[in-house]
Symmetry: C2
Subunit: 192 residues, 2 copies
């Protein structure tokens, strides 16, 4: 399936667009390819776009003053990513996004998204529900971080991203869970 | 300012509605009052409504198997609250919402919100941006939980809710921060 079909299928789950409307919407996206390790957003950048992933895997993360990495999100095909705090508030990036593998994405600027949301009610409907789902996922992750031990968070992670364990280096899974590499090895062994 | 004016002013920051459109939108809200301590949503409830707070303060929380309370959110006037995971996914509540003080709210059902979002594009626009802001706040809180110590989280909390310290019992502030009452006392003393 090409990128246009993938996006169309993704949007059709939430919103009804005619072929002409979808073509118009799609004309505002730019196809981009990135290499494994390539940085898409760096801390301090002006953030003007969000990304719909077609293939590969991205990570959103930050590195604190003690050079410890925290991973906020892995982004797999048909998921969206950006530094939304920076994108929505027109502030500088406070997180980084880079590529765990080679990746193909479709990007759309903040300005174009707002323009089309204004022009096409169904596009606004789509983006409202996209963010509703993101909000619920972020709250769920927060609740889990507040309450669950590393083993439960590990099991939730595998349920959320079943393909992840084979795609992502173990030290990145540990950084998502907020545990050491050694703790992750113990969780992995005990969950087998 | 009465509740209708407060909601109108709140929405006017994001969306343009004529007087007739706003009156129609407002006609779907129900005015409700709650007493201090009253429970609005209990774990396991069917969740059909969300709440716009006019006066008072609500808390969204859950109590884990060890009877430890975690507070997800305080909701002050002009903020919205519900168990959105349950509301959006039509599942049972996994958190509770109750009243820290007497409270007046406007409630709207999931069904009515969707109906009006469909009828009035600007209402859909408003709710998209309402959730965008909630998403960014939830991600910010998650990042803070992952990375910041209790003292930084305490200072962030006071910046987010400046009026909170006088409105909310200290044990609830401790439950929001995920620290003991004793740790909170030390933070309070050292921040003065």
């Amino acid at each position: 399936m090409d990128g246009k079909d993938l996006l169309r299928q993704h949007i059709a789950k939430t919103a009804s667009l005619t072929d002409d409307e979808f073509d118009y919407f799609f004309s505002h996206f730019k196809s981009e390819t990135f290499k494994k390790g390539q940085v898409i957003i760096s801390e301090g950048d002006v953030v003007e776009k969000e990304y719909f992933v077609l293939s590969g895997c991205l990570k959103a993360f930050f590195v604190n003053d003690n050079i410890k990495m925290h991973i906020l999100q892995f982004t797999m095909p048909t998921w969206w990513t950006s530094d939304y705090a920076a994108l929505y508030n027109n502030t500088k990036a406070t997180i980084c996004i880079d590529c765990i593998s080679d990746a193909e994405v479709l990007s759309i600027s903040n300005e174009d998204r707002e323009k089309i949301c204004n022009e096409l009610h169904q596009v606004e409907h789509f983006f409202r529900w996209r963010t509703n789902k993101g909000y619920v996922a972020a709250q769920k992750r927060l609740l889990s971080f507040m309450n669950n031990d590393a083993k439960t968070r590990y099991e939730e992670l595998l349920a959320l991203y079943p393909a992840l364990y084979n795609m992502v280096p173990k030290h990145l899974i540990a950084a998502y869970l907020g545990v050491s590499r050694e703790t992750l090895s113990r969780l992995y062994t005990s969950s087998k």
